[in-house]
Subunit: 314 residues, 2 copies
């Protein structure tokens, strides 16, 4: 089958092979997949990943209860046996594979294998172009599961793909949101939805936010968040910074700040938000490429002015 | 009056002066005061403090509703006017002074000035040697105010003054506590109270703790805490590290760890715990010095084998 592979470098091949399915796994024919910041980091050696990347996808299930229908899939494949799994924390199973990220070939290919329990049906009311955003939108939906947000003042750092989705989700939950970003165009998309925006170079840090969400993907994000959060407020770290960073932790203690790591979220809630029209993903689509042109698509996704780049696979 | 002063260096003087009281302040004649890690850091330039240190004290109020009686005093002196104060967050008032730490002369002196609203009566059942531990014990009592601890597995890093008190408080709240420390003697004090202990050099890091409390006062504490906390668990940072530290934040995000800064706590609860005999502070007393010998007392407090050093003032 066709696939994009990371080994020495990122490359396209027509001769990838699907491994044998494990118990409970379903073959999914991929329709479309999205390139995410994590994919760009995997290319730079993050997680030491080798194989087929891709974890944001819509496909057609070949078997199981959704056979022949469009599906999306949660990316953490749990063992269902360990103590974390038995406590309902499969997303944190120490034995898990993660689709397209950890010991599990991903969706930048004609087909991939997904545990049936990870699949969710895409409602007919949603286009595939919308449904491909379910994975990052679910990550944004994780925040209200972790901390109370309604009625609170929130700052989102970063107006990129994830920052945009987090801002929309928080606004939907009754948060008073301001997004701080570098790029006029990306900020305008948010302003068009009635969300307050400020350019980073025009911002005066004030320690007043109840919640600051760091979606910068940069080591500068967390220290900046600490300049914006009020005492006893919360800083949500949404993006991983692979490298070590040097910073002062004393302000966290003195101001009793709560720092919360936040990763994958609920796909069902994300699907519902899209179906109900509460989150608009259409403006986030920057470009689409056929799978064969994945290397060019990755190049495009790296450009600072880009939001989401999609791969059309079937 | 006699006092210990930090200016160029720590020194004893017989000729310190008490400033004019501000509205609402009461003169307190100091009976006894404890030397804390923060005091040692102030000597090294932390907070740029100049003046009389000392924030753990028992004294006799000269006026107000507790006139002539033994009192302890909360150390954050709020403005009672700003938005933080009006929200009941006086401990985080941006205009606050902090006794012996920030723009407010402290208790290593014959007398100090304390807002009357900060004073609490010491019950007659408590000795002054016990009551002098109220401030650090209150800091330990802050943890159960911030996160649920009952029935959870907790690791306390550090068997020093604060680590010991945090362990006792958590154990009292029904936590299954293990203290990890370097010093056999300090660990033995905890073991004598039925608290599990492990020597740092004999520990195998396992990521199983629901809560890890960092009382090391060292930049190594937080990274070690991340090696011990389970996914979605909490790391409580109790001690400030003045310098920058270099570390990876990615594990916080990937494992959705909650990092909670924790500072001053409720004096009333601490007094109650001491009165009810739920916390034993007697074994923490390493040495006592007269105020005149404060420089030697500070030297003693710096020694690794030391727990609490007290200054007898009246």
């Amino acid at each position: 089958m066709r696939a994009v592979v990371i080994d020495q470098q990122l490359r396209f091949t027509e001769f990838a092979e699907l491994r044998e399915p494990r118990e409970g796994e379903i073959v999914v024919d991929v329709l479309q997949a999205g390139i995410c910041e994590t994919d760009l980091q995997l290319c730079r050696g993050y997680m030491g990943f080798q194989g087929i990347p891709g974890h944001e996808f819509v496909g057609i299930a070949r078997g199981g209860r959704f056979a022949g229908q469009r599906v999306v899939g949660e990316i953490n494949c749990a063992c269902n046996k360990c103590s974390a799994c038995l406590r309902g924390m499969g997303n944190h199973c120490p034995n898990r594979t993660v689709i397209g990220i950890l010991n599990h070939d991903g969706a930048f290919a004609d087909r991939l294998l997904v545990p049936e329990e990870n699949l969710l049906l895409v409602p007919e009311t949603l286009t595939t172009d919308q449904a491909v955003f379910v994975e990052p939108l679910a990550a944004a939906c994780r925040i209200p599961q972790q901390i109370p947000v309604s009625g609170r003042q929130a700052v989102v750092l970063g107006a990129g793909r994830l920052g945009n989705l987090c801002a929309q989700v928080l606004a939907h939950h009754g948060c008073e949101v301001t997004v701080i970003g570098r790029h006029e165009e990306k900020l305008r998309l948010l302003a068009d939805r009635g969300i307050a925006v400020t350019r980073l170079d025009e911002m005066t840090p004030e320690r007043t936010a109840d919640v600051v969400v760091d979606c910068t993907g940069s080591p500068t994000g967390f220290p900046l968040a600490l300049q914006l959060v009020r005492p006893c407020g919360a800083v949500v770290l949404k993006t991983t910074v692979a490298d070590s960073q040097t910073m002062q932790m004393a302000p966290v203690v003195i101001d009793e700040v709560q720092v919360i790591g936040s990763r994958c979220g609920p796909f069902d809630i994300a699907l519902q938000l899209l179906s109900d029209g509460h989150v608009d993903v259409a403006p986030l689509l920057s470009a689409r490429y056929p799978l064969e042109d994945a290397v060019a698509a990755f190049e495009h996704a790296r450009r600072k002015d880009t939001l989401k780049v999609l791969l059309d696979i079937a």
